[in-house]
Symmetry: D2
Subunit: 482 residues, 4 copies
Amino acid sequence: MEFHDPGECPREACGVFGVFGVQDAAPLVYQGLFSLQHRGQEGAGIVTCDGRLLHTVKGMGLVSDVFAARPWSELSGHMGIGHVRYSTTGSARMQNVQPLVVECSDGPWAIAHNGNLTNARRLRRMYGAAGAIFQTGTDSEVLVHLLADPMYRSRPLRVARALNELQGAFSFLLMTRERLMAARDPLGFKPLSIGKLGSGYVFASETCALAQAGAEYLRDVQPGELVVVDKDGMTFSQFAASPAPRHAQCIFEHVYFSRPDSRVFGESVHSIRCQLGLRLAMECPACADIVIPVPDSGNASALGYSRGSGIPLDYGFIRNHYVGRTFIMPDANQRSDSADMKLAVVHDVVKGRRVVVVDDSIIRGTTARRRVAALKRAGAREVHLRIACPPVVHPCFFGIDFPTKAELVAGRRSIGEICRFLGADTLGYLSQDGLLSPFRFPGDYCAACFSGAYPVDVGTVQGKTELECGAAPEPVGAGGVP
Amino acid sequence: MEFHDPGECPREACGVFGVFGVQDAAPLVYQGLFSLQHRGQEGAGIVTCDGRLLHTVKGMGLVSDVFAARPWSELSGHMGIGHVRYSTTGSARMQNVQPLVVECSDGPWAIAHNGNLTNARRLRRMYGAAGAIFQTGTDSEVLVHLLADPMYRSRPLRVARALNELQGAFSFLLMTRERLMAARDPLGFKPLSIGKLGSGYVFASETCALAQAGAEYLRDVQPGELVVVDKDGMTFSQFAASPAPRHAQCIFEHVYFSRPDSRVFGESVHSIRCQLGLRLAMECPACADIVIPVPDSGNASALGYSRGSGIPLDYGFIRNHYVGRTFIMPDANQRSDSADMKLAVVHDVVKGRRVVVVDDSIIRGTTARRRVAALKRAGAREVHLRIACPPVVHPCFFGIDFPTKAELVAGRRSIGEICRFLGADTLGYLSQDGLLSPFRFPGDYCAACFSGAYPVDVGTVQGKTELECGAAPEPVGAGGVP
Amino acid sequence: MEFHDPGECPREACGVFGVFGVQDAAPLVYQGLFSLQHRGQEGAGIVTCDGRLLHTVKGMGLVSDVFAARPWSELSGHMGIGHVRYSTTGSARMQNVQPLVVECSDGPWAIAHNGNLTNARRLRRMYGAAGAIFQTGTDSEVLVHLLADPMYRSRPLRVARALNELQGAFSFLLMTRERLMAARDPLGFKPLSIGKLGSGYVFASETCALAQAGAEYLRDVQPGELVVVDKDGMTFSQFAASPAPRHAQCIFEHVYFSRPDSRVFGESVHSIRCQLGLRLAMECPACADIVIPVPDSGNASALGYSRGSGIPLDYGFIRNHYVGRTFIMPDANQRSDSADMKLAVVHDVVKGRRVVVVDDSIIRGTTARRRVAALKRAGAREVHLRIACPPVVHPCFFGIDFPTKAELVAGRRSIGEICRFLGADTLGYLSQDGLLSPFRFPGDYCAACFSGAYPVDVGTVQGKTELECGAAPEPVGAGGVP
Amino acid sequence: MEFHDPGECPREACGVFGVFGVQDAAPLVYQGLFSLQHRGQEGAGIVTCDGRLLHTVKGMGLVSDVFAARPWSELSGHMGIGHVRYSTTGSARMQNVQPLVVECSDGPWAIAHNGNLTNARRLRRMYGAAGAIFQTGTDSEVLVHLLADPMYRSRPLRVARALNELQGAFSFLLMTRERLMAARDPLGFKPLSIGKLGSGYVFASETCALAQAGAEYLRDVQPGELVVVDKDGMTFSQFAASPAPRHAQCIFEHVYFSRPDSRVFGESVHSIRCQLGLRLAMECPACADIVIPVPDSGNASALGYSRGSGIPLDYGFIRNHYVGRTFIMPDANQRSDSADMKLAVVHDVVKGRRVVVVDDSIIRGTTARRRVAALKRAGAREVHLRIACPPVVHPCFFGIDFPTKAELVAGRRSIGEICRFLGADTLGYLSQDGLLSPFRFPGDYCAACFSGAYPVDVGTVQGKTELECGAAPEPVGAGGVP
């Protein structure tokens, strides 16, 4: 999938990380965010607390850039939370970088949010009418107003009651001067895992960050659960007034977002992807000489495809590790672009061969089209494209900012038309059944972007207006009631 | 005075600038802030509005640094406001840099504030109890909550009513999508002037910024007045429920803060300072060969002293224009410091001479002491220090962050003791009568830092806790009620 | 191999790129250097010529950083050369960044050099005695003095005669106002290839850079050949007074340095590495469940090993693409380091399995040791380490800055001792015969770092004192004769 | 004079500073350069020596910027030299920043040069023909080639003999691993003073830098003198083969370049300037109400004028201290420019008055013209411009890069025409006799830029081709013989 390619980045999944009860929280949060960098490259922030003061460092860019020049001493404290934020196009929006830090009448709160609140607009309007002011354009800010609302003020039940007012997808980390809290929405859209580190506790969007921080994975925060850690230890409760009839875990976490070395929703991401490739080989066979992955997103599914098909794996693309955010395009008139700079074809591998190219997904198709063309230019005899998920055709209301239907390659095209558009000899997508086949509890996943079967009544979701990680549709200063 | 010397900067007066009805507001605001740079070097910000969106650029540091790398195209619009903020020691506080931009239910507001609200803490507590959340540590933020309060919501009377709730010193610029507003507290502590530029209007803390922007000075915003500019023109009103019995214009603006080429409170700053020097010559004569100023703060009063005394003026100190924020001290063990780097003694001028040194004021006295010692080292036969204001001995509750009484050189010393501390042969301060003598309406000034005669009952001011330009005594995250 | 791991970087191979006869040379040189970035990350430079002036931009850091803020208009011209330089530890040495630009009596010269001149010290001493002065600590500078020497001054034969004085390894690009020259030492240590781009010509250390620039690969510059391009076209000549009896192409280019998608010395790097892995499977079999590569250096050889052994390939390590130069270590006391941040173990892949880990080479062994330990921690039942080359035990005098014998893991240890040091269950190295087996002309390679059989009498090489890319053993200012 | 105004900077005088025999040389050199910053703002460098190695830090920009982020530990050693370099227009030329550091066969040399060598081009051609290569475009580099020339190699007589080959203006500081040397050309064009600091010695272009470093002024280096300091102390010698018949000290040092608190060529700069103003009052009286200086260049001469004329001094211009290198102009279409931003008119001072404006000199006249216009706009009734030197009409071959005759306001205009061009009511220049009148030894000065009477036969100076501080007329890469 071409999500990570410059110009094609969707708004991704964001990542959160928190730690309580260690000597120095900041370096651990840093390591955690570093391991979650793939979930968001636009901005990053860390807030720590020493029991008295909250300390904040935030900035635009990669984790390593934001914290490069700052001494850890600026971020003292035994607890802390951090956030990485997706890429957006358009102007920098420093004020939207999380964690959000505010001061209520009972002290400061820091909040890090992964997900999309579908009733944020309504709540925002309600509080605005009552005189509330807003500093960011993010949906996450409404939780703060709920928490500050005198109606809910009898901590910690207050937090549960406030969370209960929210609809949509959320994995939250909250920090006050005394405690760290973690919560996941009742349908469990977004992942959030708990780890143990010495006598302290760690929370992370993915288990790869627990491992990086040296923590032991305990379990996931359950859908609808609020976990509170303070000096007396950890306590658990269900905040949802009524249990959800089913879960709706985002299947795209397994398809694309999560790192292969993570366990997400209780499953190994790498293993799931291998199995998707294996199943793909059965559903969409090809008569070819070699199987090559689109690195790195297609690595595991290509391995599965090779195993399932018996066609040998080879490396037809080489990834240039130096293509980064600072890459400047040499010239608009040059024939190459940064996608071409990123992957180079190994001519000796593909020349004269019939090649199966395996990738995890296709969104717009423009990058896939360049890849196919590059293989043909390098002398590939046939190019058979195999995609380890079904076509993406429906919008997501819970945090993934897919392009519009007109921009989605599969939005208004048949498979045959897509194949011609991409210039491949054949094209095969995994079926919806195939996609769910590797999971032990397929009914607990949301695959609505493929199927259109949303886990909640989306008629009540007022347009795809409030996005992943809380980016409002307009900048601060543009909103306002009609 | 040694205010500007590194390590001795008080929190100064801040500066605000606004413009409405021009082609491109941003470059004009930039020029205006540049001319007000002496009022605050910690941070700067500009917010513009194109009638639809508010655009914000803020940063720590000097005006020229903050906007150095930003194209004006980021700040489009026909109106805009800007703010320069004083120096503080301690960690950078990006979130406190103004203008403050928030979104209320009826749209975005931008606010720039010069002054100190003496009832901010009470209002903050009240709104916090009602569920309000705060993003900054500044007192200025309470105005936003007043404006957003449904109680006051029927613009523009709403603004007048909200301003009427405030106590203390304030010159405000407010901007919405449709209009620019300027207001000055009923006692008129801080300056704020109105200018005309083509068919548009300009507001600035000092008239030097009007001149720089090419605008014509019309008049000052009156104490207690609210001026509103929108596409239909300018309207004026008094927002104060009852008129103030007297005014309380800050005399320190004339003593030190304002630029000599400004007219402040209707008087030429340069002329006032010359007259203070002249009066000082009469009150505190000296038997000496030359009069030298401490550049540049003592230039005008030294000129006046020379004229009044008949003792010839000369330049005994040379100012190094390259001492700036980036100056790094060579070594703690070296005998010199940045104050020594900043002013150099002209040996040939002072050697063997009896020297009268004139400065505008003394705060801590440590720099003055170094200056006297440097003159003696250079061979001055006698050093007679003359100060163009009385000793500063009382705290300011309205925006100037003087050191504590223990740190003020005159806090607990007699004139004789100060003279010995400074190492001068004689020392003379201007009297309080002398200080007020050049003004046409001396009763309209606050000189409480010299006299202790505060213009309002300071028993009601709860400690010197909320400071100039709204810096709360603690960072966000540290506050909260007990 | 752990070359690229922070703290273990050898001084690598450097990369050169040149172009003649295009509209705008600079963007093409930039693209070329970008594709050669893996050959050197310390610094980069581009010099272009518009026929009248030479234009230079050089800097420390990655190609994308050095040229990020510079407009191409600073580098105008239809021809240009560029250079990427290896990492060194210690203080930045801006003056050593190439291309070197000097002015001789007949005009300016720009020089980019890959290799190590073994008689540079002698020539430097000779010219120094005659009054020459030196600006850099690089061996490359002696070529300039030869070129400027009146003895050799009758261009272009002059260049051939000057090159003929040099001993050791060199691939040079030279540029004057009229022409671009490329030369390769008579033994052909370092690669240098020629491409055609429209009506112009391109030279690059590796063919991957030709492909990136859109050029067609023509052939390699031959050992001992001087190629000159000017407005009249390309001319070829042999500069070596006598032909070399054999060639001595650096086998480490195939083992590690070159990018898999390059053809180097006429062979596909990827194919050679696959074959090394295949041979390794035959020479050093293992009884195991899966084969995993150390990404990305071991990818191709692991593929070969899997094919040769029949043991299935899997991905046990995930590479974090965000580990870069700006990575800051969280804390010295933390248990992890940047090598751990870079590769993460996929627990579900290795847990309970017998794992064959394949890498291209081992230098110090410290990183390999961490990898083995990480696999064991993740639950690998057995770890069988297989290395696709023989042990590195001898110094290189021709451009690779291996650590000292004491630091080389194989320097003073038997295979069994190395295996115990690394903590692996078994360890297998490829034999020297095996290493040469995939090549069509094995006699044309230098494998002295493995065998000690140097292609020239190294008794005449005066210590390993002048290094790859010309870094002198001491900084400028420290050298000089005894 | 408008030299320092953006866009009107000439290539100025450069400054050198050196120290031997102190604990840590670098911070002292830093302080010294800081005090000499007015002599050059383009770039700065420091080279120190610990007896074994030379350590170098150089960069473009102000002294405080270049060394802001560098720890002194990078510049260890008990001796060191530094250099500040003038502004040039055009692209940055990092390689021309001094001190120049090279390695000769007998070790490293560092060189800092103030002046212009009139035979550099001939020497450069001679050495180039013999095979020498050049790294910079500066004339200073020829001294290195002379020093390295085997003909002169028997230190320290070698240095004297090499210096004896040079023609033109030079004050040199040279450093090897063992010693520090200072030399001044036989005509003594440029200043160079010696100071004592504890048991060590200090050299500086101006005595203000000695004072800043805490050193005691001993005497000037004599014209034609070579001073050598090493661990055995200081030794003196005359290097000139024959003594100069007269000296030719640059009178522009007193007119403009030097800081008022320096003693230059044995005279107090401030006193000389006061006397020039006094004389100007006698030569060019005016019927006016006030005398105002153009700050800061006209401060001293305005004081003198006021004293001589009896017309009271006042401050009609206020200097904005924040106009610096990073100042960005708001907009090309705006009516103001940075010269207007730099000086603001004090309306209350000049309105309705007849004003005498005194400045030290006029070069192009464009800034003076803006100043006159600004005064008129502010309501000045009459503006009488008085210049404390004669019209500049002749080129300088010894280090000052005046504009061409066509650009000089006095180049092709009569006094009346200049006055009309500037828009002043009257204009008066000091006479040549008046200019020399304050000096005790007027015959020892070069005033050729005013008089055209050059101290040497300038027919032998081959065009004004090699400039102050050694900037060659063309960049490296452009030169070369036809």
